[in-house]
């Protein structure tokens, strides 16, 4: 990225809009990214203010009267076990976010490293990494996660181990995406020029290829967060989550186990379900938006 020499006078005349204005202008064109980010921001605000406003202890059993429908005192109602669902939702969303971000970051990191190694060095390393990815792809990941989660001692299942279980089999996607991108980038001229002018392997990777990959890495990260939230939700709905925690999937699992709909306690399963739909929906919209950002060809077709 060469900087063009400009006289100070010329610099004064060219009024560059700030980065923020440019960002908002782009958002106006990219509707799905804008809507997704807005919903996600609202969810984050709910979680943060919720955590400040309520006592997190009320998210755990026996802290409130049981089976109260939503009212002024308990806006979201309380459940069979005596949890204030407002507190449970705030804590549960926070835990969901922790799982998503931890697993997303880890999965993306592993994927980027493996993808780079695989594409840049090629040969037998590439063959091994690609082979493992290919063999693991037809295996339904959730089922393997079920095996791992059910083999664990119930006391060992925490928010953090949930994230680790989810990430164990989720790195193949980003690995293959980054590998494909590095493969095409390796042949571009700016890389050849750098190589000919004696830049080291690491220099090429960090200075030439990595900056160009950032949109893809960002998209892979959001995809990983989506996958992690989705997978941990499924595990929790199956009853494999940390049962004491008010994780959103756990609340639905508990509500179904107590026959919430049959007994008329509709608010109990509906609230975590709506929250989960908003989380996954906003992430899906952001993924679509980033796809457009990273892949201008999609933009053209609109």
């Amino acid at each position: 990225m060469a900087s063009i020499a400009m006289t100070s006078q010329a610099e004064d005349r060219v009024l560059q809009p700030s980065q923020l204005t440019l960002f908002f202008r782009y958002l106006r064109r990219n509707k799905s990214l804008a809507i997704g980010l807005t919903v996600l921001l609202l969810l984050v605000l709910f979680t943060v203010f919720g955590l400040i406003a309520v006592n997190p202890k009320h998210a755990y059993p026996l802290s409130a009267p049981t089976k109260r429908p939503p009212s002024l005192e308990y806006i979201f109602g309380t459940d069979f076990f005596g949890r204030d669902l407002l507190a449970a939702m705030a804590v549960g969303m926070w835990q969901t976010a922790v799982i998503g971000v931890v697993a997303g970051a880890l999965g993306t990191f592993i994927g980027v490293v493996l993808g780079f190694v695989s594409a840049y060095f090629g040969g037998w390393i590439d063959n091994i990494i690609r082979g493992i990815c290919q063999i693991l792809t037809p295996i339904p990941v959730l089922l393997i996660q079920v095996v791992v989660a059910s083999s664990l001692d119930k006391r060992d299942v925490t928010i953090l181990t949930m994230a680790l279980i989810v990430v164990m089999l989720a790195w193949m996607g980003p690995t293959l995406v980054i590998r494909a991108q590095v493969l095409t980038m390796k042949e571009r001229q700016f890389v050849s020029v750098a190589k000919l002018s004696g830049v080291s392997d690491l220099g090429i990777i960090f200075k030439e290829i990595l900056p160009n990959l950032l949109p893809f890495i960002a998209a892979a990260f959001v995809g990983q967060v989506f996958g992690a939230v989705f997978a941990s939700f499924y595990l929790a709905v199956l009853g494999l989550g940390p049962l004491r925690e008010p994780l959103l999937g756990n609340i639905i699992w508990a509500a179904q186990g107590q026959g919430a709909f049959f007994n008329g306690w509709w608010w109990w399963p509906i609230e975590p379900a709506v929250a989960m739909i908003l989380i996954l929906g906003s992430l899906a919209l952001i993924i679509m938006g980033l796809d457009e950002l990273a892949n201008p060809r999609v933009r053209k077709s609109e």
């Binding site: 290919q134 063999i135 693991l136 792809t137 037809p138 295996i139 339904p140 990941v141 959730l142 089922l143 393997i144 079920v146 095996v147 791992v148 059910s150 083999s151 664990l152 001692d153 989506f226 989705f230 939700f233 499924y234 709905v237 199956l238 009853g239 494999l240 639905i252 179904q256 709909f261 049959f262 509709w266 399963p269 509906i270 379900a273 989960m276 739909i277 996954l280 929906g281 906003s282 992430l283 899906a284 919209l285 999609v298 077709s301």
Partner: protein, 333 residues
Amino acid sequence: MGTFRLVVRRLLFLIFVIWAASTITFFIPHLSSRNAIRERFAQLARTGGFAPADLEKIIANMQHQFGLDRPLLQQYGDYLWSVVHLDFGYSLNKYPSTVLDLIAQSLPWTIGLLFVTTILSFVIGNLLGAISAWPKAPTWMRTVATPFVLLTGVPPVLMGVLLIFFVGFKLKLLPLGGAYSVGIVPNWSWGFAWDMLVHQILPALALILGSVGGWVLSMRGMGITIQGEDYVNFAEHKGLGGVVIFRDYYLRNALLPQVTGFALALGTLVTSAIVVEGIFGLPGIGTVLQLAIQSNDFPVIYGIVLFITITVATLMVALEFIYPLLDPRIRQQ
């Protein structure tokens, strides 16, 4: 000769995948500190009350019967051999019945639900996606697809919860769950068949609504790229009718990658069906799995996981053999 080698290579790949899956389901439980038999009998001892000394003897005896006191590698070999025979051992909770018995009892429910919903959502999704990308389709037809696209991110389970709430709980149109009404004894009558069918509508709807959007999106993307192709332009200039172009030039070409996508989506489809069954309390494999998880019935958990993995991987490879039927270019090579 070429096809023969391809078939052999894909079959070898399939065997490799099954080996990898069985290795994972063998070693992960062995790495953990949980002892299924000990947990089960400790639970029984708490309720049944036999002496601790006897308990140790029973556990040792059971471990011997299940072959758990032999060296790890020998167990691994035995395990692989039994997987080849589709023998997943006995259920701990319903002892005389094997895991395969439990699977066989529940499988028809799951297959019925999956078969209907998968085909319906694939057909509906691809048609809607193709229409929404087709510039000559009327505007109202193209906008039909939009609500489905908005539902893409919603997993079928959550769709199920919402459907139970709105259709079952608020409107009281359909039952809240279960395979048939409480108090009815299963029998061969039209009334019972109708009752069963009514109970299947919501789970099926949840699965269809949850997966149609994905097909719409990918089909639309495919349709948009095909529109610019020369052969479509050529067909238009030849004066072919819109329906012929849509069906033979457009849908036919866009469908091939969709079949690949279908093979890749199989795993997700099956897992969604399993979780949805659990939410609705249908007596399929999903509910058996959920009950096994609740009661720590490890052989059942691992058996079901392995069984589904083998089935999905086999179907994926089988779908690849269908390509030549769909694509004349592959057939000629």
